[in-house]
């Protein structure tokens, strides 16, 4: 079994286990006997599974290698993190509603009482956690905050989880009644709190590699940084990405464009937002730190024996630059490769000459300059007209999300499986 399936299986198993333990401890008591008992039970289940998934979302923010391996890449980890975050939020929303709905229609005031602050500290903690969660989720999905503001607000989820933990263990419920459920939920919550503390406060201090900005160049709206290690050089595989920190508060992911054989690392950054637009103002000699490396593209493509089609869109050329440089030095990939370097105009393909020079040492690699101003948008027909039959090939994509989604959709319509379409989604926000 591929390791990338371990993560999703573990999540499903823990969610089911939460339900099974609740079901086990409730044996001998009515669970779904009538409307009142059934809605109360569903409320408890929603709360328990919601809290379990909420705890697991923090495990994904640890960026531990074991977590990345379990999902097949950090980008996949963050996709699951988004999904679980939303799912846990929905379950937690329905937890109080299902608990009070049993009082309706016979006793509306009592139902309202449980949804409003009262003299019970435990109930008030639950209401506080829920309101804070609603505000933070609204900020996350409805408002386009600056990356660092968003990140700061996202970190508050950890404190919301701690409040929710105290609510769960202070209130009279199945957790307080049954020891097995209590210890199991204690383990789950401890996992969440430890992961939050590690991911937010410990990892940023221990996993950073100090580097010095040796050189900085601009090519149009792309800034090229050459970074020299101050102490230990980061060990990475071709095409992996790192988080660059030019100040203690900000960190952004960028793919390494150079090969692992070189001492310095090269990052190519396109001006797309506030941070990336200011990066060109950095001065030579500036101390920065990098965290990583992350990403599984090289492992995936080097393990396949199929001929490959690589499609790079604009700045998406960076991982392929690393692959080509690495293959030219090590002769490590023997499969036939067609690399399409897609740009919107001729001046944008600033790496073309370097790649063509390196490709001379790689007989199995062909590079195709694809300028959409001359040839229109890239699609499978145009690719087939260059490489011939595409069936049986593996596709590796990197570039703007609409381009990757469009090619991926066309490939799926042609019957390609997910395993033959490889791309990373950098939308970590």
């Amino acid at each position: 079994m591929k390791t990338k399936f371990i993560g999703p299986i573990l999540i499903a198993a823990l969610s089911v286990l939460t339900f099974l333990i609740w079901f086990l401890v409730r044996q001998g008591t009515p669970m779904f006997a009538d409307y009142s008992v059934a809605t109360h039970s569903l409320g408890q289940i929603a709360g328990l599974i919601g809290l379990t998934l909420f705890a697991l979302t923090f495990v994904f923010t640890t960026r531990l290698k074991i977590v990345e391996d379990s999902f097949g890449g950090l980008d996949k980890v963050y996709q699951v993190h988004h999904l679980l975050g939303s799912l846990s939020f929905i379950l937690i929303l329905f937890h109080p509603l299902l608990l009070v709905i049993k009082f309706i229609p016979s006793n509306w005031p009592l139902a309202a009482k449980y949804l409003l602050p009262s003299s019970s500290v435990a109930v008030n903690l639950g209401i506080t956690a829920l309101l804070a969660m609603i505000i933070l989720i609204a900020l996350t999905i409805y408002i386009n905050l600056k990356y660092e503001t968003w990140k700061g607000s996202h970190r508050l989820f950890g404190f919301v989880f701690i409040i929710a933990f105290f609510h769960s263990f202070m209130i009279t419920s199945d957790i307080s009644r049954y020891n097995l459920l209590k210890f199991y939920m204690l383990f789950i919550c401890a996992l969440g709190i430890i992961s939050f503390v590690y991911g937010s406060f410990i990892r940023p201090k221990i996993k950073d590699y100090p580097y010095k900005l040796k050189d900085i160049k601009s090519r149009g709206n792309v800034t090229i940084l050459e970074l020299e290690p101050i102490n230990e050089k980061i060990a990475f595989k071709p095409g992996q990405f790192v988080f660059l920190k030019t100040n203690p508060k900000e960190q952004h992911p960028f793919t390494i464009a150079s090969s692992p054989e070189e001492n310095n690392i090269v990052l190519m950054i396109k001006s797309l937002g506030d941070y990336t637009s200011k990066i060109k103002e950095l001065k030579k000699g500036t101390l920065v730190s990098i965290e990583g490396p992350y990403g599984k593209m090289w492992e995936e493509l080097s393990s396949s024996q199929k001929p490959q089609v690589w499609i790079a869109g604009g700045i998406g050329i960076t991982p392929f630059s690393s692959f080509v440089s690495h293959i030219a030095k090590t002769k490590s990939l023997k499969q036939k490769i067609d690399l399409f370097y897609c740009t919107s105009n001729n001046g944008e393909a600033f790496l073309l000459e370097t790649l063509l020079e390196q490709a001379k040492a790689i007989p199995n690699l062909r590079i195709h300059d694809f300028c959409s101003a001359d040839k229109g948008r890239i699609d499978l027909q145009k690719i087939e007209s260059v490489v011939g039959k595409i069936e049986g090939k593996k596709f590796v994509l990197c570039g703007p999300l609409p381009m990757m989604e469009s090619i991926s959709k066309q490939l799926k319509q042609k019957g390609f499986s997910k395993n033959d379409i490889l791309y990373e989604n950098f939308n970590l926000k």
């Binding site: 988004h82 999904l83 939303s86 939020f89 929905i90 929303l93 329905f94 109080p96 509603l97 009070v100 309706i104 006793n107 509306w108 005031p109 009592l110 139902a111 309202a112 009482k113 949804l115 409003l116 009262s118 609603i134 989720i137 609204a138 999905i141």
Partner: protein
């Protein structure tokens, strides 16, 4: 996109249902407002403040035994013939 839609729908359901519960619980049935205990204690206070005139029970201490007498009704004509 799908996740965002599901989350939005769930959030709307939560807001609408909880707003309805609070509205009907607090305002539509004011005598049974959110804190029943508070209302009960208010009622008790009101009772204490009232000047109560004792009602003298004038009922006889022994209830006379009633004997039922059969009532003989006249035959009812069902038709005009």
């Amino acid at each position: 996109m799908k996740i965002k839609t599901f989350t939005t729908v769930a959030l709307l359901i939560f807001l609408l249902v909880s707003a309805a519960i609070i509205y009907f619980g607090l305002f539509k049935t004011p005598l049974q407002s959110s804190n029943i205990q508070d209302n009960l204690s208010l009622i008790k206070k009101d009772e204490q403040n009232l000047t109560v005139t004792p009602i003298v029970d004038q009922q006889p201490t022994t209830t006379p035994t009633q004997t039922s007498t059969p009532v003989i009704r006249p035959p009812v004509r069902t038709s005009a013939s």
